[in-house]
């Protein structure tokens, strides 16, 4: 019963929305009823799926790149206190700068011929920080007594990183990637908005394009697809995190 609670609420809200639109005779271009949105969803389904795939692939490529860059930099900070001091402030700058503010610049540099590169760059910038901060925290999370044992056994700097600190960081890395993936998707959508009609024709472009044509039902349909994609991505990453932690802990 508790599992049905959110579905029940959604059904209730949709019902109320439908009735209100019909009773108050709201113009369709202003607020279409759910039935019209469902119609638009069915009508534009192939285009929406193709657009979702474009947005999702930008997000996934960005997640992969952000993951590689963030982990490589985090390992450098773990190996050298000097590099730690050098890298951390810059990483924070990347974190606090809003992606919409950087978007026009990145679009000029990368975007004229290859708009998808600009989108990936922007999404990487957004997804980078949670993975980096998870990795740096994780690399410092090793049991101090295990660190002492490694010292006693004469382990070298790299042996400590590879055989102690990186494995110790796994739970932090899983969490960082989960947050980073969600942000990569948001970053990809925001970057598409920034790129406008010149960009990759992903979901955000669908929303913009439908808005320009006053196809409000199609706008909402694209929004619904975007929400479903976000939920699905989150569920997949939760499952990966659970499985990863189970493997790491051995039970």
């Amino acid at each position: 019963m508790n599992r049905l609670a959110p579905l029940l609420l959604i059904a209730l809200l949709l019902g109320g929305w439908e009735i209100a639109c019909r009773v108050m005779q709201v113009p369709v271009y202003f607020l279409p009823p759910p039935s019209a949105v469902a119609g638009a969803l069915a009508e534009h389904w192939p285009a929406l799926v193709a657009a979702s795939w474009r947005t999702l692939s930008v997000a996934l490529i960005s997640l992969l790149l952000a993951s590689l860059i963030a982990q490589a930099l985090a390992i450098l900070t773990a190996v050298s206190p000097f590099l730690d001091r050098a890298i951390r402030p810059l990483a924070s700058v990347v974190q606090v700068t809003p992606v919409v503010a950087i978007a026009p610049l990145v679009l000029i540099w990368a975007g004229l011929d290859h708009p998808e590169r600009a989108l990936v760059t922007l999404a990487v910038l957004v997804a980078f920080f949670p993975i980096f901060s998870g990795a740096t925290a994780g690399l410092r999370s090793a049991d101090p007594d295990l660190e002492r044992l490694f010292a006693l056994y004469g382990a070298g700097r790299w042996q400590r990183v590879v055989r102690l600190r990186l494995p110790s960081a796994v739970p932090f890395l899983l969490e960082g990637h989960k947050v980073g993936a969600g942000l990569a998707l948001i970053g990809a959508v925001v970057a598409e908005f920034g790129a406008g009609s010149g960009g990759v024709r992903g979901l955000a472009w669908q929303i913009l394009d439908a808005g320009n044509k006053l196809q409000t039902d199609r706008m909402i349909a694209a929004l619904v697809v975007l929400g479903m994609m976000g939920v699905a991505l989150h569920a997949v990453l939760e499952a990966i995190e659970r499985a990863g932690l189970k493997w790491w802990r051995g039970r």
Partner: protein
């Protein structure tokens, strides 16, 4: 008797003041020395000096046991959760450059010696507290150390597990006779396991008594009820009480 390790007039300063010393202690070959003292008396610091994990502010530490010949067991099992029991035990050998198959073979032998044959593939999370401690002990023994340092190794275990582990340590000791230094709060455990009990007084830690313990090692049955055991335990307790009061 030659010394495996010695602390000579060592002092250790921490930010909050003097933690240990002046303090001198010689550990002979094959000796089992218990360090007993109240919390914060610096007995764990003394152990870390003997391990070479910490340097004294003043004084000298001499260690005949070289790198790879000293092992430490901490209060917690301190196992890597992502590694199997076998891989945890093989770790010191692999870090020292032993080839993996050889390291794993010797790890299996060490696990067998602590009575954990069949648990090679188990992860630490699947083991009981006592079993995890045995894995930790196997990891310390796998390098055939000359000096074995135990920092309150059984403090977190129940009484029955404690006692059976104490007997196991003595049986393992009899096989290769490494020198053992162990830290404990428990006077009975100290007298039972050690050939010599050193009492340390509080702040800054200094030696308040040094008691040889008579009797064969490993201990015979009913050793805890023998008159000599009671007398030594009483003497240690008295010195400990005086050290706490000081």
């Amino acid at each position: 008797m030659t010394n495996v390790a010695a602390l000579k007039n060592v002092e250790v300063d921490y930010d909050r003041g003097l933690a240990l010393g002046p303090f001198s202690l010689e550990i002979g070959d094959g000796e089992i020395v218990a360090l007993v003292g109240p919390s914060g008396c610096g007995k764990s610091t003394a152990l870390r000096l003997l391990a070479g994990l910490e340097q004294p502010t003043r004084g000298t530490v001499t260690r005949a046991a070289g790198r790879g010949e000293t092992s430490v067991v901490f209060q917690a099992p301190t196992l890597a959760p992502w590694l199997s029991a076998q891989a945890n035990v093989a770790l010191p050998l692999e870090l020292a450059g032993t080839a993996r198959p050889e390291a794993r073979r010797r790890a299996d032998e060490a696990l067998a010696r602590v009575g954990l044959s069949g648990a090679e593939a188990a992860r630490p999370a699947q083991l009981s507290g006592g079993m995890a401690m045995r894995v930790s002990l196997a990891r310390a023994l796998v390098t055939s150390p000359k000096l074995l340092l135990l920092d309150e190794p059984f403090a977190a275990l129940d009484e029955i597990t404690r006692r059976s582990l104490a007997d196991d340590v003595l049986t393992l000791w009899a096989a290769t006779k490494p020198a053992i230094v162990f830290v404990t709060h428990n006077v009975e455990e100290a007298v039972y396991m050690a050939s010599r009990v050193v009492v340390i007084s509080r702040g800054p830690g200094q030696i308040a008594g040094d008691f040889p313990v008579d009797g064969p090692l490993p201990r015979p049955a009913h050793f805890r009820t023998a008159a000599s055991f009671r007398t030594t335990a009483e003497a240690v307790s008295t010195a400990l009480a005086a050290g706490v009061a000081a």
